[in-house]
């Protein structure tokens, strides 16, 4: 359960648009308390020892790092496409490992059973074979060629469609989903989950979307995504073991779990074990 790797990543700690001067707040990152204050233009994050931490505002959130040699924050090119609607979806605190939250986001097979009528429905439960790889040049996990029947793939969807998916994991606590955009099928909607590791067994998920949807009201877009995350929360908080096993002795992964298996292999190889169980589960 090493903190060593984790300290040099960047993490979201606030919705940038909701920063109000004079109304700072306390949060936790990697088990340590932090004070977040300032404004959208000039956010300030202070460690317990009074040290001011590095800060950047990106993807609608305030990001910080506690390490002395932070790796660069990953790039999401779609964030620079000005014709998209950018939707920070608030925060969902979940009593689970931050790695479990990411793994759940990558799991397609649970859609018909947990997000019934929205992201999946019976009898369309089969996950067709897809491709997963660790892209060595970018040091990221990618799952591609995914197709799934969805009753309501997005707020903008007016009927069930065969949705195409690509998943990308650019950092241990971030996953980015590229999926068919219902009103603009030649483009991808982008939905990301940025996870703040509060502790090894507690996290805050900050969903963020970059969509082509100029019809749905902002509140409806947020509510749509919040509903999905709240459906996931009860599943996540009841998973055993709480930490993500990197030695899944008692699990039997199958073809549809391939993204999870490759994600775990990537974490193990990097030594990114904060929130992971490294002994036999």
């Amino acid at each position: 359960m090493s903190r060593e790797y984790a300290t040099n990543d960047w993490y979201p700690v606030a919705d940038a648009a909701r920063m109000i001067p004079g109304h700072g707040f306390t949060t936790r990152l990697l088990g340590e308390p932090l004070e977040v204050s300032g404004s959208f233009e000039n956010p300030v994050v202070t460690a317990r020892d009074g040290r001011m931490l590095p800060v950047q505002v990106r993807y609608g959130h305030v990001w910080t790092t506690t390490g002395s040699a932070p790796r660069p924050l990953f790039d999401i090119a779609e964030a620079d496409e000005t014709d998209r609607t950018f939707v920070p979806c608030g925060a969902v605190q979940v009593r689970c490992s931050p790695l479990r939250a990411v793994e759940n986001f990558l799991d397609i097979a649970h859609f018909p059973f947990v997000h019934t009528g929205i992201l999946g429905e019976e009898p369309h439960t089969q996950v067709a074979p897809y491709k997963v790889e660790i892209r060595e040049d970018a040091d990221e996990v990618w799952a591609t060629q995914i197709g799934f029947h969805q009753p309501q793939a997005a707020k903008s969807a007016t009927e069930a469609i065969e949705t195409r998916y690509e998943y990308r994991v650019p950092a241990p606590t971030t996953a980015v989903l590229y999926k068919t955009c219902p009103p603009k099928p030649e483009a991808w909607d982008v939905i990301a989950i940025f996870v703040q590791p509060v502790a090894e067994d507690m996290c805050i998920a900050w969903p963020w979307m970059a969509l082509y949807d100029d019809v749905s009201p902002y509140a409806d877009l947020v509510q749509f995504q919040q509903e999905i995350f709240l459906q996931d929360r009860s599943i996540l908080e009841n998973q055993k073991p709480t930490l993500l096993p990197l030695d899944p002795r008692m699990e039997i992964p199958t073809r549809c779990d391939l993204t999870s298996v490759v994600y775990r292999r990537w974490l193990k190889r990097k030594g990114a074990t904060y929130g992971a169980l490294t002994t036999a589960a």
Partner: protein, 90 residues
């Protein structure tokens, strides 16, 4: 003759846990055949059983126990002269 598969793992596989872990997983999946260490970087196994369970073995082995790192896993067809009825460590 019985058709099956040969799986070859390469990577950092020197940990003592590797072979017993694979043996345990093979028994859990009710597969038959054998597994043996070729060297510190290579483990090979011959498997007989239903295709979905051989595939589940391949996926599980691509992660392996906590103290090994699997870099590659390759699969080839294999024919057993006699149908194996247990999964053994050689």
């Amino acid at each position: 003759m019985t058709c099956g598969a040969i799986l070859t793992l390469t990577g950092q596989l020197s940990a003592e846990s590797a072979l017993p872990w694979i043996h345990h997983r093979g028994q859990l999946l009710n597969l038959a055949g054998w597994v043996r260490r070729e060297d510190d970087q290579t483990i090979r196994m011959a498997l007989a059983g239903p295709e979905p369970l051989i595939e589940a073995m391949e996926i599980a082995c691509s992660l392996g126990p906590g103290d090994v790192l699997v870099d590659t896993i390759t699969r080839a067809r294999h024919t057993f002269d006699e149908k194996p009825d247990t999964f053994v460590m050689l």
